[in-house]
């Protein structure tokens, strides 16, 4: 007979306010098999855990049910406590009477009745729990970092400096990301390139870092400590080993009229190009869509002028398999566009701002390129339409952000600060110009941030107007900005030479596809979800995958760098051990029952099912059965639901346990 101990937590008042915990403890105490039941204010606290351990030993408990919060919150805590008292941790179950009961119901009687049923269900389940041994698996002490912006670079350098190999994969031809595009950075106004490019060079020169640029993740297999990642290295058409980076090919390329996406389409670039002069690696890539050689078969100038013979038109995509133990995802952000969105997209464009068709209405990143000394104008603020210097400039904040009607309800976090920076950069470059800013609220929390924002008003003479803009339209060579000043309660009309929109921060395109390959979750905007908003902000719910930077949510550079270093620290913690303990929730085959149909093999997403021969003593083949490799099994249990002879069981979720729960209801 089992001697089950049931512990009901008050969770301060979170549970006891709506659930009569004492009554639950009393009622559950009468269930067959329950030897001990009690309630306590905070089960997860040190004295609470002490109570649990003491009861296990004094009452000689065989199983434990803790009725408290969600198992996603504290299952590990209590299983550890149970283990330290000498019981197998898998003989402990949690009944969720907080998230699934006290917090979602108001009626005390109903909630109490439900709590009793939930606990009763877990009592029946725990009776069928079996002792499960922990499984140890080896850890491959190499890490993959996806994304070569500041987040990926910081994480890669930190991990590599700790002595572990890093594979850094970047989609673009160069690392650097958005930070390489910025002119200057808040709140210190230091030049972005000056602090970014040395780090990029460090990555390229680091003996522990393997860098794949112009490459994407094709496939991810395996699990924490043992991932197999297939990287698709797109055909660059230039041999990276032979190329010296002299740049003759780029100067001689006859096709030079391709909009430069790095400069937000303000400048032009040739068909064979590096995105920007400080690119790492400094190896050009041929844009096959726009190259005359690839389009018509004629030309071939770059190959003829290349001294080392690095240009290779025959190059093909390469698939490289990299074994790694941990993955840091740092894919960053993209900017919302006011252009008309295709039908069906939840995010709408801005028709009232001209859907992006007024040439001198630009976004913040385009302004960065104009202000950048290495940009298309050499750092002069000039209008894209006619190249004149704008004397009246209007900045509009929260374009897309905090606009539920446009499909985005969150705050993009960085725009208040970068707009303040833009007004300063503008004032430094156009002394007789005037900057206006339309804003809803100024959100400037952060070290030296509010001081910086005030400086833009007090010293740099930007005029801040609280209110939104209803319409923008072209009138001659001016843009009329119609808005309201809600502080004074008047309509405002400004004839501006240029308008800069602080458009919303969004996840990178394809963020959802990558998440599906990695098996990590994301929110409705496609930002990746952390395991816990407060306590596990850099880990994914999927073990062994960590998040860094704006792919998780809008972030500025200091926050991104902090999170990247935190993710690196998590990776190093994982790599500190040679072996890793994993949850023994794996499938096992009952060989006696297995008929060798191998339906399980067909449905297994991990390829964990192998064939095993059963032979008699003479060595004659009796039958071939399925065998589940516990190192590879992910623990989904699809095999068990598929098996026609019920010969495969997922430990921790056996039919016995589940039927016991259903019968308890």
């Amino acid at each position: 007979m089992s001697r089950i101990g049931v512990f009901i937590c008050h969770c301060g008042e979170n549970i006891s306010r709506t659930v009569d915990v004492e009554r639950v403890a009393a009622l559950v105490g009468t269930l067959p098999g329950v030897a001990f039941s009690t309630d306590y204010k905070y089960m997860c606290s040190d004295p609470g855990q002490g109570l649990l351990k003491k009861a296990i030993q004094e009452q000689r408990l065989s199983h434990v049910v803790v009725a408290a919060c969600s198992p996603r919150m504290h299952e590990k805590t209590f299983r550890k406590a149970v283990e330290s008292a000498g019981l197998n941790p898998f003989l402990c179950e949690m009944a969720n009477i907080r998230e699934h009961c006290s917090w979602v119901h108001e009626d005390r009687d109903e909630a109490t009745a439900k709590a009793v049923e939930i606990v009763g269900m877990m009592v029946e389940r725990v009776k069928k729990n079996r002792v499960l041994p922990t499984i140890t698996v080896p850890v491959t002490k190499r890490s993959l970092v996806i994304g070569g912006g500041i987040a990926g670079i910081q994480a890669a350098l930190d991990i590599a400096d700790a002595g572990h190999e890093v594979v850094l994969v970047e989609r673009e031809p160069s690392i650097g990301g958005h930070m390489a595009q910025l002119s200057e950075t808040f709140p210190t106004l230091d030049c972005s390139q000056c602090i970014m490019t040395p780090k990029m060079v460090d990555v390229a020169n680091h003996p522990k870092i393997t860098l794949y640029t112009y490459a994407e993740i094709e496939q991810v297999e395996g699990y924490i400590g043992n991932f197999q990642v297939t990287v698709r290295k797109k055909a660059r058409s230039v041999d990276e080993d032979k190329c010296t980076g002299c740049g003759v090919c780029m100067t001689k390329c006859p096709q030079k009229k391709i909009p430069n996406t790095f400069d937000r389409n303000l400048g032009m670039r040739p068909a064979i190009y590096v995105p920007f002069p400080q690119a790492v690696p400094n190896t050009p890539v041929i844009d096959r869509e726009n190259c005359t050689k690839f389009k018509t078969g004629k030309c071939g100038v770059c190959q003829k002028v290349c001294g080392p013979g690095a240009v290779d038109y025959e190059q093909e995509d390469q698939l490289i398999v990299e074994p790694v133990g941990a993955i840091v995802v740092a894919t960053g952000f993209d900017l919302y566009s006011i252009e008309e969105k295709p039908k069906g997209s939840p995010i709408k464009g801005y028709g009232e701002f001209g859907h992006g068709k007024i040439p001198d209405v630009i976004d913040g990143m385009t302004f960065e390129r104009l202000a950048s000394a290495s940009g298309p104008t050499g750092g002069k603020i000039l209008r894209p339409s006619d190249g004149r210097e704008p004397k009246q400039i209007v900045f509009i904040q929260c374009v897309g952000s905090r606009a539920r009607e446009k499909g985005i309800s969150y705050c993009s976090k960085i725009c208040c600060m970068y707009t303040a920076k833009h007004t300063m950069l503008y004032h430094h470059k156009v002394h007789d110009g005037q900057a206006y800013v339309f804003f809803m609220d100024a959100r400037t929390p952060g070290k030296s941030y509010d001081e910086f924002w005030r400086r833009s008003i007090e010293e740099e003479e930007a005029v801040y107007i609280r209110g939104m803009v209803s319409r923008l339209y072209q009138k001659g060579d001016k843009i009329v900005v119609m808005g309201s000043d809600i502080a004074v309660g008047v309509q405002v009309e400004i004839e501006a030479d240029m308008v800069v929109l602080a458009t919303a921060v969004q996840p990178q395109k394809g963020a959802d596809t990558l998440a599906q390959k990695l098996g990590i979750s994301y929110d409705k905007y496609h930002f990746y979800s952390e395991a816990h908003a407060k306590l596990r902000p850099v880990e994914c719910a999927t073990a062994g995958i960590y998040l860094a930077g704006a792919c998780q949510g809008p972030k500025d550079i200091p926050d991104t760098v902090s999170q990247a270093s935190a993710a690196a620290a998590k990776v190093m913690t994982l790599f500190a051990k040679d072996k890793l303990e994993r949850e023994p929730i794996v499938a096992r085959v009952r060989e006696a029952g297995c008929v060798g149909c191998f339906y399980c093999q067909k449905v297994c997403p991990y390829g964990a099912v192998e064939e095993k021969e059963i032979r008699d003593r003479q060595g004659n083949l009796v039958k071939v059965v399925a065998y589940v490799n516990p190192g590879v099994c992910g623990g989904c249990g699809t095999c068990q639901a598929t098996c026609p002879s019920k010969s495969v069981e997922l430990d921790g979720y056996t039919d016995e346990q589940i039927v016991a729960m259903i019968e308890a209801l």
């Binding site: 969600s70 998230e99 909630a111 719910a541 989904c636 639901a641 997922l650």
Partner: protein
């Protein structure tokens, strides 16, 4: 554990089979956001919807459930790569079978609720509860349940004694 039945109005019993990564987490989110929904649902956690054997649904009805809810990650978002696709295929067939044997499919709901969709969870549980409340108690399986009591299981001391004496 039996509780006092409220005779004046029918309170349906809803059993939800959910995956731990998406829907269970979504239900947790509904809790942390303090959303409110009827107290009729009991949640059973599985690693993946792929683990959910159709037999469990029959078992739930047999045990007196008036409605059953199965929910997991959205297609493509499965934590185990493809478990929910297998589940989807399996339940598409299973629904037909249930319909054939005469179960009103209004009592059975399949859905996808992600970890970020606390609101959808609340909406779905509320809708199903109200729908099943309108449909009344599920009687179809009660006879079956009775039959199983006589299927040879040793449930009384007299039976046990008789069995031991053989």
């Amino acid at each position: 554990m039996p509780m006092e039945e409220q005779m004046h109005s029918f309170e349906p019993k809803i059993i939800a089979f959910v995956c731990t990564w998406c829907t269970y987490a979504g239900a947790d989110l509904a809790g942390t956001s303090r959303m409110q929904y009827p107290a009729n649902v009991r949640v059973l956690k599985f690693p993946c919807t792929g683990r959910i054997d159709p037999v469990f649904i029959l078992k739930a009805f047999q045990q007196g459930a008036d409605g059953v809810l199965v929910s997991g990650c959205h297609p493509g978002d499965c934590h185990y790569i493809a478990g929910n696709f297998h589940a989807r295929r399996r339940f598409a067939v299973f629904r037909k079978l249930l319909e054939f044997v005469g179960v009103d499919l209004g009592r059975l709901q399949f859905s996808w609720v992600s970890a970020a969709e606390g609101g959808k969870w609340v909406e779905m549980v509320t809708d199903l509860t109200e729908r099943v409340r309108g449909m009344g108690p599920m009687r179809d399986f009660e006879e079956l349940a009775l039959e199983e009591q006589w299927s040879g299981a040793i449930t009384t001391p007299e039976l046990q004694e008789a069995y031991d004496s053989i």
